[in-house]
């Protein structure tokens, strides 16, 4: 049944291609065709049978999320936090060095430190806020 394959393909469009994705799509298409076929045998009109099969199967969003969760999600958020922490520490270390080397009499490195500290803080609290939702 062409309509079912089209429906599943359109739903999975946003997920990047992978072996796993095509396997799961294939399995879902087969299941949907199977139950639509049974409904048609029971005397339902073709279109009704397809619609009912799709509704009965349930919302595919959960499966999409699982497939997407494999590449993105937690790991990515954590690595951008580490990048921010290490990056800001390097910048702070550099300003401390310049401060002590060229003008040891004036403690000015605190000002750029305050500025650059916003970087990891933003990432951290944005991640926290997104997790909370």
């Amino acid at each position: 049944m062409k309509e079912i394959a089209t429906y599943v393909e359109r739903t999975f469009e946003s997920v990047p291609d992978s072996q796993r994705k095509s396997e799961i799509m294939q399995e879902i298409i087969e299941r949907l065709e199977d139950s639509a076929g049974k409904l048609e045998q029971d005397g339902k009109a073709r279109e009704d049978a397809i619609n009912k099969a799709i509704v009965d199967f349930g919302n595919l969003d959960e499966i999409l999320q699982e497939l997407r969760g494999q590449e993105t999600g937690k790991g990515k958020a954590l690595s951008s936090l580490w990048f921010a922490v290490i990056g800001s520490l390097l910048v702070i270390a550099l300003t401390v060095f310049i401060n002590l080397y060229y003008s040891p009499g004036v403690v000015w490195f605190l000002y750029p430190t305050f500025a650059v500290i916003w970087w990891p803080l933003c990432i951290f609290f944005f991640g926290k806020w997104r997790k909370g939702r």
């Binding site: 396997e23 799961i24 399995e27 299941r31 009965d56 349930g58 959960e62 499966i63 699982e66």
Partner: protein, 110 residues
């Protein structure tokens, strides 16, 4: 018919149990749940496949392509030792939850 919210948290454990008995494929799990619960536990197939994906990603089950039957290849799921440990923990947690809830909800209402 029990609301799915109450049972949702235990769906992973239920699936691990069924896969632990013998290797099973997606629709087999669906009909097994329906049959054993006598239709009282309603799980959408989409939810089932999502949970299977999650279990596989967490390393609790592995899957392999089974023999061709009726024109289509079936994907069978097999429980790993890690999955077995998780199943045992899930069963323990369920017993404990039961005891705790019983403390409050058992007996007649005054």
């Amino acid at each position: 018919m029990v609301s799915s919210d109450l049972l949702r948290g235990h769906l992973e454990t239920i699936l691990l149990r069924l896969i632990g008995e013998t290797d099973r494929y997606g629709y087999e799990l669906f009909s097994e749940i329906d049959g054993r619960a006598g239709g009282r536990l309603v799980v959408k197939e989409a939810t089932l496949y999502a949970v299977l994906q999650r279990l596989e990603r967490q390393g609790y089950i592995t899957s392999y392509q089974g023999d061709v039957s009726g024109g289509s290849k079936r994907r069978y799921y097999h429980m790993t030792p890690l999955g077995k440990a998780n199943l045992e923990q899930g069963i323990r947690e369920w017993h404990e939850a039961q005891e705790i809830i019983n403390i409050f909800l058992r007996g007649n209402i005054q």
